[in-house]
Symmetry: C2
Subunit: 407 residues, 2 copies
């Protein structure tokens, strides 16, 4: 009958949450702030809910220094819902902007010929996002500007050199999409790609589902950032979206979209509708917003994003250094320079050793270490809620395992 202290969970998401927040949640779900009602029972339109929304939004704004001309909205449906939403809304924005320039639908129609959405495909999730764009707007509008599998011998593990990227010319680029951290493949962008400029030249959209709040981000470089909450921020069912306000205001009419043969977003994927209604166009799961808010407030109290970035770096450095010390036993999957601080993917060389590693670790309460079912191996997920003490214990375990299997 293990307690929370007995289990160190390194799963890739849904991820461990701070015990402090879950202890509060345990009370809140039954009787929130002594209101006689649990938080899931309170109206999403109550003053209480409105304060929770504002609190969570403010904490996120503070942590990432979100500029005033960016909005924060909360949505449902996870990252996969955003794969579709960004296509509809950013394409809409691009069309409206061109229409304002040209004031002529025919000119926009012409401009659309050859216009592309650029995808940097560096792992499983950016691949899925690009496939969804192809479903919605057709392959001819999707340009895979970087294809990590092509340069990785059919496997993900290296972000292609920027010099090899084939980005659409700026005039024809609708937006550029990338996934900052690929959970399945353990690949993370070391920093904002130089090739994408400063955010003014190209609209940049980024999926930060698995590394948000683990390091500083210059929000100004992005048109839009989204993140499913269930890894670094909170519970499953909540998605954070940070986007430039002009994406909300510059959107074409349905008539324009129809006459250009472009898809119309379902209302729940319409950012301007969600934003206009303060994220409450329909019933938002306020309990999940509250959990995320509590997690973010703790990060603020602990010293903000700088502290978290330092901690994340220390933890992943230790893990990689320990694995690198036994190169005949541990084969780190991604290449140097593409390695994730959040998901450390490694193969253990030797028949049955991965199974043994996971089983031995589990016997010591360290769980969630199996790699994604599509790629196998071992994966250590090192999100914000993983303490340095937990990493230290895992490091000691890895060292002992290496000694026992020294070759």
């Amino acid at each position: 009958m293990p307690t929370r202290e007995d289990i160190l969970y390194f799963g890739a998401g849904p991820a461990r949450l701070p015990t402090s927040v879950l202890t509060a949640a345990s009370t809140s779900i039954l009787n929130h702030n002594s209101t006689g009602l649990g938080l899931t029972e309170h109206s999403h339109r109550s003053t209480l809910s409105s304060e929770i929304l504002t609190g969570a939004s403010n904490a996120l704004r503070q942590l990432l220094s979100v500029p005033d001309d960016y909005s924060i909205i909360f949505m449902q449906g996870g990252g996969t819902t955003q794969f579709s939403s960004v296509v509809y809304n950013l394409l809409g924005y691009w069309v409206q902007r061109e229409l304002e320039k040209a004031e002529d639908l025919e000119a926009v129609r012409g401009k659309l010929r050859g216009a592309k959405i650029d995808y940097l495909v560096t792992g499983t999730w950016s691949q899925k996002a690009s496939e969804e764009a192809s479903r919605l707007v057709g392959e001819e509008m999707v340009n895979v500007a970087a294809d990590a599998k092509a340069v990785g011998g059919g496997k993900y593990g290296k972000i292609p050199e920027e010099s090899a990227w084939v980005l659409t010319e700026k005039e024809k680029s609708i937006f550029t999409y990338y996934c900052d951290n690929e959970t399945v493949d353990g690949v993370e962008f070391p920093n904002f790609p130089m090739a994408l400029g400063d955010g003014a030249e190209r609209l940049v959209v980024c999926d930060m589902s698995s590394n948000i709040l683990s390091r500083k981000v210059d929000v100004r470089k992005y048109a839009l950032i989204f993140a499913g909450a269930q890894k670094n921020v909170g519970t499953t069912g909540l998605t954070l979206v940070i986007l430039r306000n002009d994406i909300l205001t510059r959107q074409p009419t349905l008539k324009t979209l129809r006459s250009l043969g472009l898809p119309i977003q379902p209302i729940m994927m319409d950012y301007k509708t969600i934003a206009k209604n303060g994220s409450l166009y329909n019933t938002l799961p306020i309990f999940d917003v509250w959990v995320a808010g509590e997690v973010m407030k703790e990060l603020v109290t602990a010293g903000g994003i700088e502290t978290q970035e330092a901690v994340s770096g220390r933890k992943s450095d230790k893990l990689y250094a320990t694995l690198e010390a036994s190169p005949k036993l541990f084969q780190i999957v991604p290449m140097q320079g593409s390695r994730s601080r959040m998901n450390i993917c490694v193969r253990i060389l030797g028949e049955g050793l991965e199974k043994e590693f996971a089983a031995l670790a589990e016997a010591q309460g360290m769980t969630g270490l199996k790699g994604h079912r599509s790629v196998g191996g071992i994966r250590v997920s090192n999100y914000n809620s993983i303490s340095e003490a937990a990493v230290d214990k895992l490091v000691m375990f890895i060292e002992a395992f290496a000694v026992a299997h020294s070759v």
Copy 2:
């Protein structure tokens, strides 16, 4: 500092949940079944989660006697997401069925001319659903077969007589949509509309968000039933969908949709993808599934849907009878025959009396009684989790209020 026992909450949703379930949830969120991890932290792909999904699905199947050739899927995004999903998927089904008959795209194109989706607009939510269909496929494909506002002098409160409905001829009817219970307006269909046949002639889609599991339903009469969980079943963030299996299998290719100029559903609204992946195409909030499962298992134990139907009827009968006893004070909003057992909407005649009613009730711990902000008045929501004792207390309060304001 009220306890849960002090507060009788009659809010329209998110609604009260059984204290027994929330007490279990309070433990589960911190350390589920002594696994050392809270339920929101467990992988949605674990055996544990898979058992939770199966358990919830089986309970729903048992409660509503869902036939074997129907699937149950769990989704995110609430009823509003379904407003869009049903349009994409049922239109897709209709096209594919016609294509199988005609084996010729041109014939289907011809058939599409004049084909309509029929909406029975009986309140705020069915109106929103019809508006979303118009956004996605254009007004010309949407037929408001019944317009309750038109017969109600600009207000909702009466389901138009079936004889006055203008349904599209069967051959041209893509599907027929209605909302079984209108939460805002207190309007509920007394039973399955005769005019829609037996489910074989027309595809019938029904929003049961606010009355599901409160009475028996003949699932066979429907192509699809959906319900946001946060009123009668569980927490916000989960949606139940029950649909006929052939809707999953008979779907056109993207190429067919494109060449017919029909919209393509975003992947998260693609029922066949969600079903094929056992509701786990992306990360599903398993905690919410678990809560819904526990609520449904309690309903099974309490005697199933027959018991619940009897209880719901007794509770709403008492409330209506009490209000009807003072007709000079209480004006029930909807007409006889259209009155909801779930949301009892009433106006109190006399300056300031509604405010006084709500305030006095609140002072006695009876809360959530204010009508929807769009219509005002008093609304008593009488979902499954509202006990007969709670209704009795409210009935006594209403009687005392009537005596104090006898006119």
